[in-house]
């Protein structure tokens, strides 16, 4: 089985980092994986996005064109990718930022004010982790232990304090699914 | 009978392809005398340019690399960086160093690469038959300035030593000439100083030698020497434009 994910938003929202965590989760879980960022001028203030594939078999094209999961953290990226999501797929948006409403009835659509939740909890900049947590709770793709191990791999030791903050945000996101 | 004059050990015993009266022979000899006297030949890596002196790789007895046109300073950088204890020098003409290779020349200066550049300025592209060089004098007739170099359209001659002296990484920038015995002696001293700088790891040393091209100038060898003296030196004043070692000495 292959899970194809697109994460998209503004540069600076931690899009590429979230993708990296998911890729490392795949590594920790012994899966095949790939992570492919958009690069270039897009990274500077425009939209940033990345493709993540997690699979039991070797991965063909690492560029995701029809995602199983879309996490959109701004309007332009939501509009860019919503029609590409596979029927039956999962769409998560940060509706603190995204005003658009879902126009499709063949996908699971979850809107949560992740940016507001993050700032209300004193965790500015953790909206990405909250959305990822919710996505993991919805799909069961990886458990929390795996996420923690992935974070320990991705975050350099001198910034280890961030692991705890990030994990708290992931758990908060996961818990938002009643 | 005692031998009072001989070929330097570092100068390979082969006939050169240089024209009669050409200055390259003199400067080759001076470089080799210095390599011999400082016992550097076994550790030296020379870089030959493109131009008349390309075949210097056959004449200098040390290991030699032939570089693409203008790139000798970059080639020397690569060789020196991975062999910091070897002695690396380039031997370049004016077209090679001051036209197509200007960027490489400036940047070895800014980086202070610990190498020696021997720069032969004879105001012309010799190998290709005497076209205008970046150092061709105003009004000078060449194959591509048949009515004399018009600075309005063909630009002005470039004074390399003055320019290189402005760069922080340059340890020595000195202009010398080979038109007379005292000047030739001065040239050898400058070359020696350049290699001493490299041994002492002081940075880039460039010695600009005002030299002759009787063939392309259309002059006899002795008249060519007069041209250096009367036409070139006034435009390209001889002298030391930068000498870090001397500055340090004076500061003591």
């Amino acid at each position: 089985m292959t899970t194809e994910i697109i994460l998209a938003g503004f540069g600076g929202q931690g899009i590429l980092f979230t993708g990296k965590i998911l890729a490392y989760c795949g590594l920790m879980a012994g899966k095949e994986l790939s992570w492919l960022p958009s690069y270039g001028p897009e990274m500077r203030g425009g939209t940033a996005n990345c493709s993540v594939c997690i699979s039991d078999e070797p991965i063909g094209s690492p560029l995701v064109t029809t995602p199983d999961i879309l996490i959109a953290m701004n309007g332009p990226s939501y509009n860019k990718f919503i029609d590409a999501v596979k029927p039956g797929g999962l769409v998560l948006v940060d509706n603190s930022v995204v005003d658009e409403v879902c126009t499709r009835d063949d996908v699971t659509f979850i809107a949560m004010p992740a940016t507001d939740i993050a700032s209300d909890s004193g965790m500015n900049g953790s909206a990405n982790m909250i959305l990822m947590g919710r996505m993991l709770a919805e799909t069961g793709l990886f458990d929390m232990d795996t996420v923690k191990k992935a974070m320990e791999k991705c975050i350099p030791p001198k910034r280890a304090n961030l692991i705890e903050v990030n994990m708290k945000a992931v758990e908060m996101g996961a818990a938002s699914k009643e | 009978m005692a031998v009072v004059f001989d070929r330097p050990q570092s100068l390979v015993d082969v006939p050169t392809h240089f024209c009669p009266g050409c200055g390259h022979g003199i400067v080759h000899r001076l470089v080799c005398e210095v390599l011999d006297e400082m016992n550097l030949t076994g550790d030296a890596i020379g870089v030959a340019p493109v131009g008349c002196s390309v075949m210097s790789y056959n004449y200098f007895g040390c290991d030699m690399i032939q570089a693409p046109h203008g790139r000798a300073p970059a080639v020397a950088t690569g060789a020196k960086r991975v062999n910091p204890d070897k002695i690396v020098f380039t031997y370049q003409g004016d077209g090679d160093l001051a036209a197509i290779g200007t960027a490489e020349t400036v940047h070895v200066g800014t980086r202070g690469e610990n190498i020696v550049i021997i720069f032969i300025n004879n105001t012309t592209y010799g190998m290709t038959g005497g076209q205008m060089a970046p150092t061709t004098l105003p009004g000078q007739i060449t194959q591509t300035t048949p009515f004399g170099r018009n600075t309005e359209t063909a630009g002005h001659p470039i004074r390399i030593c003055e320019m290189m002296a402005t760069l922080s990484g340059v340890a020595l920038a000195q202009r010398v000439a080979i038109d007379s015995v005292p000047h030739i002696r001065e040239t050898k001293k400058a070359i020696r100083k350049a290699f001493e700088n490299q041994v002492a790891k002081r940075g880039l040393s460039i010695v600009e030698v005002l030299s002759t091209c009787p063939t392309n100038w259309g002059l006899s060898p002795d008249k060519a020497m007069n041209f250096v003296r009367e036409q070139m030196i006034p435009y390209y004043p001889l002298g030391v434009y930068k000498d870090k070692a001397a500055e340090e000495e004076a500061a003591k």
């Binding site: 960022p37 094209s61 | 040390c62 290991d63 690399i65 080639v75 690569g78």
Partner: protein, 348 residues
């Protein structure tokens, strides 16, 4: 690890002593990685003033017998062409990496495969070849670097790794070989100071005597013949009974593989031929892959460059169709799948 970083780490482990580069997207991570790691590994990192200078620094370092590397992306590789030709003419081993982007001109910074002609036919003036490896994953980038350094030394030729922005930017799991401790001895020809113990070595590409130059070139082509006989490599995927063979290399091959897998699941007799060396082109391997093929579909991220080698390899006995995207647009598996369907008429 990112593809670009993997290339750099692999080179260091191969005993690469120096890296000379100049910034250009999408390969900059390679330089940045080298800047961080090279000195600690006892080597030299230097950011040159231009691509032209960088390749000539490689020439200078390689002339002294050390393993040297440079990397760039398409426009920068054009600037390196002169130096590569001189290195080939001087029989100098070195590794050159091209993380291709869209062209011509400044083009785009997105992944492309439009430098195939340049790499395999004309990466500089004169009668010569460079070996060209075409990895298609981060792991293969590592393997290609290891091979490239060894083969460059073995045959005394420059070797190019032809990657693209997608492979350079993507991250995949990767395993590195143990660092190399023993490197080939090059003292018989290297210009590294003769210690007054041997005649001087000259690293040179100038031979004014025409018959002498001809002899030099012919000797080099004898080595090329050996390379062609021994060093071709390709992956054959589901080709045994394939009536349609898709040919693609690098990133395009990954896209094509997804499409082939999907078509196979539907009973379409299609396979994938993926050259891992572009020069020499794996002619024998392609003919093996296409032994039952009625058609070939060549897929590239260009307007069609490798297709000429494909046609030559099968001597035009089999019709060769083409599908490509260019300018930095990456073809999708769905597009390639549609082409496969069109050419096969669906499942038999």
């Amino acid at each position: 690890m990112k593809g670009n970083e993997a290339l750099a780490e692999a080179a260091i482990r191969c005993g690469c002593k120096c890296f000379f580069g100049y910034p250009i997207t999408p390969q900059t991570e390679l330089s940045a990685y080298m800047a961080k790691r090279m000195e600690k590994a006892g080597g030299v990192f230097l950011q040159a003033e231009s691509e032209v200078a960088a390749i000539n620094m490689v020439l200078g370092a390689a002339s002294t017998g050390v393993r040297a590397m440079t990397s760039s992306s398409s426009p920068g590789v054009s600037l390196k062409a002169e130096g590569i030709s001189y290195m080939a003419g001087s029989d100098l081993p070195a590794v050159i990496i091209n993380v291709q982007r869209g062209g011509p001109g400044l083009g785009s910074i997105q992944p492309a495969q439009s430098d195939y002609f340049q790499a395999t036919k004309a990466v500089g003036h004169g009668d010569f070849h460079v070996m060209v490896y075409a990895p298609c994953s981060v792991q293969e980038m590592v393997d290609a670097v290891t091979l490239a350094f060894d083969k460059a030394d073995e045959y005394r030729v420059p070797v190019m790794i032809l990657a693209d922005g997608l492979l350079g930017q993507m991250m995949e799991p990767v395993t590195f070989p143990e660092p190399k401790t023993e490197l080939p001895d090059k003292s018989s020809w290297a210009a590294c100071g003769h210690k007054n113990e041997r005649p001087h070595n000259i690293v040179n590409s100038l031979f004014l005597d025409a018959p002498l130059l001809e002899a030099k070139v012919k000797e080099r082509f004898e080595r090329y013949k050996l390379i062609e006989e021994n060093e071709t490599d390709a992956e054959l995927y589901m080709c045994d009974d394939a009536e349609l063979v898709v040919t693609a290399y690098g990133a395009a091959a990954r896209v094509a593989k997804s499409a082939v897998t999907k078509a196979r699941a539907e009973g379409i007799k299609v396979g994938l031929f993926r050259p891992k060396t572009l020069w020499p082109f794996p002619v024998k391997e392609l003919n093996e892959a296409a032994k039952n093929a009625k058609k070939i579909l060549d897929v590239e991220m260009s307007m069609g460059q490798m297709i000429y080698d494909v046609k030559l390899a099968v001597e035009c006995r089999i019709p060769v169709e083409f599908f490509g995207r260019t300018g930095g647009v990456i073809p999708t598996p769905a597009e390639v799948y549609d082409e496969i369907k069109k050419l096969t008429g669906g499942a038999q």
